[in-house]
């Protein structure tokens, strides 16, 4: 790691100001992606702005038709939350499948969503549930937030403060994990609302995406058999040492069926 200055602001506006006033500064939440990146010198910021002293960013609140998860809430806290387990059990299950216990102790929902790793779990949950990303300056719908490989709608100096999840009628998440990293080779989040079904896929392509043909069919008949014959196009899907694009495309259907199964169980 190259040396850097370290700031621990206690107010969000101070954090935003540091971020915009220091060129080449970076936010650090749990650090589960950033610290390995610094160690490999893939990034060498001159300053880190640590969000851990911003107490207002932690915790989970019940808003009735939705629940709000503070950006600095760790995966282990979401996984163990009785509120999340009761209202959106699929989200608690998703959090319990991220990385390993040590990663879940430190890693945060805000960090994961802001990083938008193409194989991360949370983007599937956020897009699948049609959540709202609440930032220091505005609210962004999930459909407009994830822009592709590690890219989001966040602007310079903008900080995620919370994610607001609408409570679905039913939801399920299934992932086929890469055995070494536990990242999603393919992960599918399915959520059924009164006005339709949303299907979001992570791991298969350069960024999380929805599958409208599956959503249309599942909105009529919420059963795994309804989507068994749907194959997604391999165009634009990822091929790497872990799997070819056609294998990932096949997995999307398999994982989607399992996610619907999980939602029904």
């Amino acid at each position: 790691m190259k040396p850097f200055a370290y700031h621990q602001p206690e107010q969000i506006p101070d954090a935003a100001k540091l971020l915009t006033s220091i060129e080449d500064s970076k936010l650090v939440a749990g650090g589960m992606t950033l610290i390995p990146t610094l160690k490999q010198r893939l990034a060498s910021p001159v300053a880190l702005v640590d969000l851990s002293k911003l107490g207002s960013l932690k915790g989970i609140t019940d808003d009735g038709p939705s629940i709000t998860v503070g950006a600095m809430t760790q995966h282990a806290v979401v996984a163990a939350s009785k509120l999340v387990q009761t209202k959106i059990p699929a989200l608690a299950a998703l959090a319990s499948m991220i990385g390993d216990p040590a990663v879940r102790s430190r890693g945060t929902i805000g960090g994961s969503v802001a990083n938008n790793d193409p194989a991360a779990d949370y983007p599937a949950g956020v897009l699948g549930l049609g959540a709202t990303i609440v930032t220091s300056t505005r609210e962004i719908a999930a459909d407009k937030f994830f822009l592709g490989l590690f890219e989001t709608a966040l602007e310079a100096g903008e900080i995620i403060t919370a994610i607001r999840f609408p409570v679905p009628l039913k939801a399920g998440y299934a992932k086929f994990k890469a055995p070494a990293s536990r990242y999603a080779l393919v992960g599918v989040f399915v959520a059924k609302f009164a006005d339709g079904v949303r299907v979001a896929v992570t791991g298969a392509g350069p960024g999380v995406f929805r599958v409208p043909p599956m959503e249309a069919v599942l909105s009529e008949n919420f059963d795994p058999s309804a989507i068994a014959a749907i194959r997604i196009d391999t165009d634009g899907l990822t091929s790497d040492i872990h799997a070819e694009a056609d294998y990932r495309a096949h997995l999307v259907t398999v994982m989607a069926k399992r996610a619907v199964d999980a939602a029904l169980s």
């Binding site: 390995p36 610094l38 880190l48 282990a76 040590a102 990663v103 102790s105 430190r106």
Partner: protein
């Protein structure tokens, strides 16, 4: 920067560069070499310590995160106070041959103790899921899983005895 924290029960203050990993701080500055660095890429889990009671990989933790926190390393793991015995989880690893070369063992123990503390009635599936972040290249995991189950049961028994139940 100066950082004060509680290390294995003792108040500790260190002067470090912010770009210092806790694993380096422990091994190179504080001479606590029981925390091992296997991969240094957050994969292997040999460096797991407890930060405020939660398992974390100290090779993926910056020293400033320690400010005001409580840190427990393998050196701080012990049996009943004054008993001069190992921790029940350590005893279980010895009893059930939960190690061969021992390199991964400090991290395995710290992860296992955290698992057993969080969920006293661990199932084998819980243990296998909970050990996903700890790599052992000797044992094939079978005896580690057996050890963790036995260690968790012993921790539970000790806790219940301590409660007078």
């Amino acid at each position: 920067m100066q950082i004060s924290f509680t290390l294995n029960g003792r108040p500790t203050t260190v002067d470090v560069e912010p770009a210092t990993l806790v694993a380096e701080l422990l091994r190179e500055q504080l001479n606590l070499t029981g925390t091992h660095i296997g991969c240094d890429t957050s994969q292997c889990g040999a460096c797991v310590v407890h930060l405020d009671g939660l398992p974390v990989k100290s090779c993926t933790l910056l020293a400033p995160a320690l400010a005001g926190a409580t840190l427990l390393t393998i050196e701080g793991l012990q049996g009943a106070p004054g008993s001069n015995q190992m921790h029940p989880m350590q005893e279980a690893f010895r009893e059930h041959h939960g190690l061969q070369c021992g390199f991964c063992t400090p991290g395995m123990l710290m992860t296992a103790v955290a698992l057993a503390t969080e969920k006293p009635d661990l199932t084998e599936a819980d243990v296998r899921h909970g050990l996903e972040g700890n790599i052992c290249r000797c044992t094939g995991y079978q005896n580690i899983v057996v050890s963790v189950m036995a260690g968790a049961a012993a921790m539970n028994a000790a806790k219940n005895a301590g409660n007078g139940e």
